[in-house]
Symmetry: C2
Subunit: 377 residues, 2 copies
């Protein structure tokens, strides 16, 4: 497929597996035009082109290498044309590394109340203006090409697991497969257009396909086989961490692990709890994204390691009123290393000072980066 053959005109393949594969933990490298990123890795979410409350320098300080943006939200504001005029997602948001754009498929799920789906695509009614947005696989890929992310995602149909029926899961999976074909076709068309144009190209986006199928092993197997039969550059596992139990998710990861194509990166979407991430890394996963470290932080919640295990606490708790230690002793994040004290952070969060959420966000992202770095080669 054009996508991959283009990558191979460069000296290095997009993804390299660096360890023997003897253990279930994979150590790899994602090679981008200007930069390489070690895996496993965690990618903070900058939905609207900014990780909430953080300058890109502060995000960089966490060790994060790839940041996400979201097609649905960026289309609504500032719009992909404006983003392109600003030099693309990276230039706009001052992110020095690669970026990944989500396809908008997840918003079909998270914004279900304002969306209507059919085989052609999804219609959203924008809450701000009442305007309608019709998102199709082609449209999503076009927007993502304009946004200029380094990794783009196929448009998928995500269903909630806690209230799903098997027919709906099956329908969503089959639709996701049709949409993957359409996403690939549109991606190819746009890549060919790029190569025949006279505009200088700094890089070509990589396209990842998304595996669906709920917590049904047969559907998941079928979906994985389908996605892997295409020439996408990476395999994403979608539709997990959306309401099922931790045990259900882990069982699914156990099951999928042996069937995953070892030569392509494995991206577990929407997972960013330390315990889940460790499990997933030890079961063949390479990439993660999640709003948890930043959303939790804004509510005062932070992670710390004690007795070799992941713990969570809330800085708003009364017991921190006279606690002058850093969030986590020994942590090397900007916040802990800088000596910001728990009593001060508690004060900031309780008083609604956004700096508190920013300082905790840095710690939480760094906490996840420490986890992935421990697994890297």
């Amino acid at each position: 497929m054009i996508i991959r053959s283009m990558a191979s005109t460069k000296s290095k393949p997009f993804f390299e597996l660096n360890n023997s594969g003897r253990t279930s933990v994979r150590q790899g490298t994602l090679n981008f035009a200007a930069q390489s990123v070690k895996t496993p890795t965690f990618m903070p979410v900058g939905t609207r082109g900014a990780v909430k409350g953080l300058t890109s320098e502060l995000v960089s300080s966490t060790g994060a290498k790839i940041v996400l943006g979201n097609t649905y939200h960026l289309h609504n504001s500032p719009g992909e044309t404006a983003v392109a005029k600003m030099g693309g997602l990276r230039a706009m948001s001052h992110w020095p590394g690669p970026m990944l754009s989500d396809s908008g498929g997840f918003q079909v799920f998270s914004l279900a109340k304002i969306s209507k789906i059919n085989d052609e695509g999804v219609e959203f009614v924008l809450p701000s203006s009442g305007d309608k947005l019709f998102l199709t696989p082609e449209k999503s890929i076009q927007i993502q090409h304009k946004l200029g992310a380094d990794i783009i995602m196929a448009f998928d149909d995500v269903v909630s697991l806690d209230k799903l029926s098997r027919p709906r899961t099956l329908e969503a999976m089959e639709r996701t497969h049709h949409w993957l074909n359409r996403s690939i076709a549109e991606h190819k068309r746009l890549l060919e257009q790029q190569t025949t144009s006279y505009q200088p190209q700094t890089s070509f986006p990589k396209l990842f396909g998304i595996v669906q199928g709920g917590v049904d092993k047969k559907l998941r197997k079928k979906s994985l086989e389908f996605v892997q039969s295409t020439e996408v550059d990476g395999i994403a596992i979608g539709g997990l961490a959306v309401g099922e139990t931790r045990q259900e998710m882990n069982h699914m990861l156990d099951y999928l692990q042996l069937q995953l194509d070892p030569d392509r990166p494995h991206y577990l979407m929407g997972v960013g709890h330390p315990i889940d991430m460790r499990y997933a890394i030890e079961h063949g996963m390479d990439m993660f994204d999640c709003v948890l470290p930043t959303r939790n932080a804004r509510h005062g919640s932070y992670w710390f390691l004690a007795d070799g295990r992941d713990h969570q606490s809330n800085i708003k708790t009364k017991k921190y009123e006279n606690d002058f230690l850093p969030l986590e002793e020994g942590c090397d994040c900007y916040t802990c290393r800088g000596g910001y004290q728990r009593a001060y952070l508690r004060h900031l969060i309780r008083q609604g000072e956004t700096l508190g959420g920013s300082l905790l966000s840095i710690h939480n992202i760094r906490y996840l980066m420490r986890i992935v770095e421990n697994y890297q080669a």
Copy 2:
């Protein structure tokens, strides 16, 4: 007075005037224990121990040297005892330079709905808990000593100018004078206590007295003479920029200028509009503070210089939708120098991303610092 004689045991006096005084613009130096600060200077406001949305490094990047904290708010949370245990205001908030604490007097004015005043002090009903706080000159000075700021303010009675009667202005002025005497006495007592204790002291706070008297020249003159008859380390002009017209404020500055003690620093409280600041600097003022640059920023408003004049614009305006220039071309602030584009900043502010307010705050503070730096020696 003990306050000043102590300062003089150091090699340099607290305040030095560096230019001839031939022009009305004064160029001076404030000497603190560890650091000197050139005047005129602008001091950003960190009401609760943080300049809203900014790390101390970002505040530093603006060139600001002194940051404010507020007695009323810091007493309520985290409390002066906690601040002291964290190593004082500077250590708590990671500010590398001197800090100034406001006395809480301004809250008598700004929180008038929840406060009752008499000659002894002011009773506040705290909105969060319903608890009562009785603030007196002694209590304010005690709190400020505990907070550990480098410059502390006498407790004063601030009245609103737009609805004031002369009797109320007179009463407020006389009360302010009584309270200044009590503030000085308490300050002396605490300084003597410090020198007889065995605790190592890194520095002694400087006390500023506050001139009141509304827009009434006779009262202002009387108040200025009274404050200057005491041995306070600095002269603050309070009760301006609280509702009077720009012309009224300027007339008062014209009037006061010739009577101000040239050997002490002149601090115009609550003023931070570029036009007002320039006028005040050119009429003998040395120090300024204001929430305007940060509060305006959070609402999208920013300053820029064009044709040698100060202008204000709002980034939310439609015309910036396709504007890819920095906020102010040629500005050397973190935001403009970094190349953040207007269309991106507009997008952030409109979408409620706090990073937008932070990036505009940096620009606005830097804008004021550029003004004062142009007047410095």
